[in-house]
């Protein structure tokens, strides 16, 4: 126990001091990208992994957060620290609005509706030229300021994203490991059973959608102020698929899984840059192989017991655990 705590402290220090020993802006940018995608993957995981709602339009929430931030920073004098929660709340509201009508839909149908939602949002970005400047995008978005200090270097943004990721992980971790998380899982496994024991599926699905959208909006807000230029090209259908891939690859319904998925899918294409033209093909191949040989993802459902109760408890009642996993695979 002592050695793990020591390792934990060392790892935390390494991450905190990353800009000091990783003296390379490119590497820092990758680290920041990982941070953004951890927020996106985690927020989608609440919808897809925990609530079991197959949503394909996550880039739309990301985009709404970005555009709200960009428009507020460009057209008003509001501070970024005020704009950030506003962007999150507005996006959360959109999540709630989208959630309401699609509650009746399940599985593939829900996938198609959310896909359509993603496209509608993108087309609004493209065509509402008076506000969004259409495909020309919004350049020159202000950087955040804190007590007169303006965020300029990659290290500044690294610490900002680190704080945001920490908040996201903490909130989502607490929520999904609470009674609410169990209710969400119950809704996912069987709505009828959930209703029979007094869990209202509608309520929990809406909570998942709203919370997922809110954190995606926060990620979008950070992206807008970090890159300082946004255009509809950044929030395409392929981005939704990429985020979904992170969730699935990392393991559904697992906080650790989403973090791992985001890291792997951001880092792999960079490691494969030497392959130039064949790069994206190799990434695709890696994903296919991964799914063939480890369909539950890096840190998926098979570890759910451990995720919930810790290693000791999960390993003790060997027989009943096996029985549960049998009944799981049967459903």
């Amino acid at each position: 126990m002592k050695s793990t705590r020591l390792l934990k402290i060392v790892a935390a220090l390494l991450i905190l001091a990353l800009p000091l020993w990783l003296r390379n802006e490119y590497m820092l940018h990758i680290a920041i990208s990982i941070g953004i995608y951890i927020m996106l993957a985690l927020s989608l995981n609440t919808i897809v992994g925990y609530a079991g709602q197959f949503a394909l339009g996550h880039a739309a929430f990301y985009g709404i957060g970005s555009y709200v931030t960009a428009l507020l920073l460009l057209n008003t004098d509001l501070s970024f620290w005020l704009v950030l929660p506003i962007a999150g709340l507005v996006t959360g509201l959109f999540g709630f609005i989208l959630g309401s009508p699609v509650i009746r839909l399940r599985g593939d149908y829900l996938g198609i509706v959310t896909l359509g939602f993603g496209e509608i949002i993108r087309l609004i970005f493209v065509n509402w030229v008076d506000v969004t400047r259409g495909p020309m995008g919004l350049p020159g978005i202000r950087s955040p300021e804190l007590f007169g200090y303006t965020f300029t270097s990659s290290a500044d943004f690294y610490y900002l994203v680190l704080v945001l990721v920490a908040i996201t992980v903490l909130v989502i971790y607490r929520v999904v490991h609470s009674g609410m998380g169990l209710s969400l899982l119950t809704v996912r496994e069987d709505e009828v059973v959930a209703e029979s024991i007094g869990i209202r599926p509608t309520k929990y699905k809406l909570i998942a959608f709203t919370m997922g959208a809110l954190f995606a909006g926060v990620a979008g807000a950070f992206y807008a102020t970090y890159i300082s230029f946004i255009s509809p090209d950044s929030f395409l259908y392929t981005d939704s698929v990429m985020i979904l891939a992170m969730v699935v690859l990392g393991g559904m319904a697992s906080v650790t899984g989403s973090i791992l998925g985001a890291i792997v899918l951001v880092v792999t294409p960079e490691l494969l840059r030497f392959a130039s033209d064949y790069r994206m093909m190799l990434v695709g191949l890696a994903i296919v192989l991964m799914m063939v040989f480890k369909p539950q993802g890096f840190w998926g459902e098979s570890r759910r017991k451990r995720n919930f109760y810790g290693k000791e408890l999960a390993d003790k009642p060997q027989k009943s655990a096996a029985a549960v996993s049998d009944s799981n695979s049967a459903t």
């Binding site: 390792l7 991450i15 390379n24 230029f229 880092v267 490691l271």
Partner: protein
């Protein structure tokens, strides 16, 4: 919480591996001068991205065959931005923070250039775009240059040409992207300023609209005497074909992005008489263009596209800057800001104080299945 620790450890490990890679590739420089290339080598614009890579590679090869710069060989470091602004920011960070990269040719699409521009400018490295014609690139920063004129410049040029030819009622079809929208906007204003009238403005969605007959039927009712296409060659060819089928027999005008053999291959008879300004004309009689076309065909067994030519010019300008002013980042930037009258294969280059290029296009027309110089 134990898994969190594993995670943190894994994260630091990966980051460590990445630094390792970064250092080794950065340290190998010394005998070579490196130029970065950032283009969409995969994804929706891969065709143009590959053409850009070939054009730049050819320029580097020719320079190396002629002895390089002060006895040093030039090396091209190509990175893929997938036309995605997020990816462009990654590539920009990678190239700009590698101090052995002296300048960058790229990016292709304007949103990628704009996403990369703050990073290049912060690191004070020249990026010279072969394909970003959006007016917004003008204000992108002192280290952002381009060898392609702005949409505004071309729109005004074609509008003037429209007036010279005596067309009064013009219909505009444009693709709904930064490029199409910017172009259509400038063209409309300039036509009206020259005493013409824009009777229809219709947009289509790039890569999705294949049936233009609803738009064309609407336009036909307005009886225009000219149709201006603010888009790319695939759609322009389809528009020309479908308008002939609908009995809308008017002349067409476009901009230099339509200059591609694909326009003629796809459009056939329907694009005969299509008028457009061109900066690069592969059948030109100019000596330097002939030499470029010949060596390009020898190297790649195909004829060069417009963007290959732009990339060729951009790379040659960078190499010239290294030769004349010195092979470091600041010297290249200084040289470009003062460069006037550089004769490239896409025309004579003068950079203004914003890093935009000013060059006079040639008037072209499609005649007998070929692009030819236009004469009244």
């Amino acid at each position: 919480m134990k898994k969190m620790m594993t995670l943190l450890a894994a994260f630091s490990l990966i980051a460590g591996v990445l630094t390792g890679c970064g250092n080794s590739s950065g340290g190998s420089g010394g005998d070579t001068l490196k130029i970065g290339l950032a283009a969409p080598l995969s994804g929706a614009s891969a065709q143009d991205g590959q053409a850009i890579k070939k054009g730049a590679e050819l320029a580097v090869k020719l320079a190396n065959d002629a002895g390089g710069v002060n006895g040093k060989k030039i090396e091209l470091v190509a990175e893929d931005d997938k036309t995605d602004p997020k990816e462009a920011a990654i590539v920009a960070n990678k190239l700009a923070t590698d101090s052995s990269i002296l300048a960058v040719v790229g990016h292709f699409n304007s949103s990628a250039t704009l996403a990369g521009a703050p990073i290049y400018n912060k690191n004070k490295v020249v990026e010279i775009s072969p394909g970003s014609s959006s007016p917004a690139v003008t204000d992108a920063g002192p280290y952002t240059f381009r060898v392609i004129t702005t949409d505004a410049y071309q729109g005004e040029y074609v509008a003037k040409w429209t007036a010279e030819e005596g067309f009064k009622k013009v219909a505009v079809i444009y693709e709904n992207t930064d490029y199409g929208l910017g172009l259509a906007d400038v063209y409309k204003k300039a036509v009206e300023a020259n005493g013409g009238q824009v009777v229809a403005m219709e947009s289509y969605i790039l890569g999705q609209t294949k049936d233009f007959s609803p738009i064309l039927t609407k336009i036909k009712q307005q009886n225009p005497d000219l149709l201006f296409v603010g888009g790319l060659y695939n759609e322009a060819a389809l528009i020309a074909k479908q308008s002939k089928t609908l009995g809308l027999n008017v002349p067409f005008m476009g901009v230099d992005a339509l200059y591609s053999n694909a326009l003629i291959d796809l459009g056939g008879d329907a694009v005969e008489g299509f008028m457009l300004p061109g900066f690069f004309n592969s059948s030109s009689e100019k000596e330097n263009v002939k030499a470029f076309v010949k060596s390009y065909e020898e190297a790649y067994k195909e004829s060069p596209s417009t963007y290959a030519a732009y990339a060729f010019d951009a790379t040659q300008i960078l190499i010239k800057a290294m030769k004349e002013k010195g092979a470091d980042r600041q010297s290249i930037a200084d040289y470009l800001t003062t460069l006037k009258g550089y004769e490239g294969v896409t025309g004579v280059h003068d950079f203004d104080e914003n890093g935009d290029v000013m060059k006079e296009p040639e008037k072209l027309i499609v005649k007998d299945g070929k692009f030819q110089s236009y004469t009244k």
